[in-house]
Amino acid sequence: MRSAALLALAGSGCLAALHVTTTATVTTDATAPAFALPSQDGHVVSLASELAHGPVVLVFYRGYW
């Protein structure tokens, strides 16, 4: 069974060219930093509450390029 929870995080905008400034601090095998964010139906979803149900897949996206 594929029971990993999928969370999508939204960041949208429109731009002509992408100038990358990666500041991410997360690395493989390190503990994922905790967070809690509002979902589309107004509920606050925390990483800990999702992990209680199994693995989590976070998908970060932007609306436009």
């Binding site: 069974m1 594929r2 029971s3 990993a4 929870a5 999928l6 969370l7 999508a8 995080l9 939204a10 960041g11 949208s12 905008g13 731009l15 992408l18 100038h19 990358v20 400034t21 990666t22 500041t23 991410a24 601090t25 997360v26 690395t27 493989t28 095998d29 390190a30 503990t31 994922a32 930093p33 967070f35 964010l37 509002p38 979902s39 589309q40 139906d41 107004g42 509920h43 979803v45 990483l47 800990a48 992990l51 199994g54 693995p55 989590v56 897949v57 976070l58 998908v59 970060f60 996206y61 932007r62 609306g63 390029w65």
Partner: protein, 230 residues
């Protein structure tokens, strides 16, 4: 940054079954994926094991770096040792939906002599697979009112977001040169969103087949509401 309210409409349009989280100040995006110099989130994937440790990380710095849906599923299976069915059509694609079309335009009909005409038509179309559409069409114009059945064959273009369509129609002309009619239609259809499309078409109808024979040629531009039905 999309607000939760924006995400609600987006999730409904696409039938999403998972939470869409709004990272308003970008703090989580900055930690997990990184941001561009103009403060937009970089597209990225992070997979987290139940014990809270990061199992997989990928950040895209260009469009082509992003994982496709199939690649993402394969990566989930590889990372977590899961398995499941291949990605199936959910019925949420634009070309899977019922279409309620409103087309307006003009042309000419030949009742003794050619004369100009304006037309408004309502068409309902049910998709039977990807290549056939079927449904009723009602058209009112300066000289005729027609009630027809329409069958269209379509060839998808731009993925499934557009189609070239060819159809035949037949029915009854109730006003003007009344009697049986037959016709043919062709159009270019393009889905702007999963719920709205535009179509540019040309239609020929031969009215009153058993009598005066009034041919009519029309060019139309229309919009359609695309409705999820299964």
């Amino acid at each position: 940054m999309d607000s939760p309210a924006d995400s609600l409409g987006f999730a409904a349009d696409y039938g999403l079954q998972f939470p869409l989280l709004s990272d308003k100040d970008g703090a989580v995006s900055r930690t997990y994926a990184g941001v561009s110099s103009d403060s937009y989130t970089l597209p990225g994937i992070t997979m987290i094991r139940p014990d809270g440790r990061v199992a997989f990380r990928q950040v895209a710095s260009s469009k082509d770096d992003r994982l496709s849906a199939a690649e993402l599923i394969a990566t989930v299976d590889r990372t977590f040792g899961t398995s499941g069915p291949a990605i199936a059509s959910t019925g949420y694609a634009a070309d899977d939906r019922l279409q309620l079309r409103l087309d307006v335009g003009g042309g000419a009909s030949h009742g003794g002599a050619w004369s100009g005409t304006a037309v408004g038509a309502l068409t309902g179309l049910v998709p039977l697979g990807r290549h056939v559409l079927l449904g009723p069409r009602v058209a009112f114009d300066t000289h005729e009112a027609t009630f027809d059945g329409l069958v269209m064959a379509r060839a998808p273009i731009f993925g499934a977001a557009g189609a070239l369509e060819l159809g035949v129609l037949g029915g009854y002309t109730a006003w003007g040169p009344s009697g049986a009619n037959v016709g043919a239609t062709a159009d270019l259809w393009f889905a702007l969103t999963p719920t709205f499309s535009l179509q540019l078409g040309a239609t020929f109808v031969d009215h009153d087949l058993g009598g005066a024979r009034v041919p009519e040629l029309l060019a139309t531009l229309g919009v359609a509401r695309l409705i999820q039905f299964r």
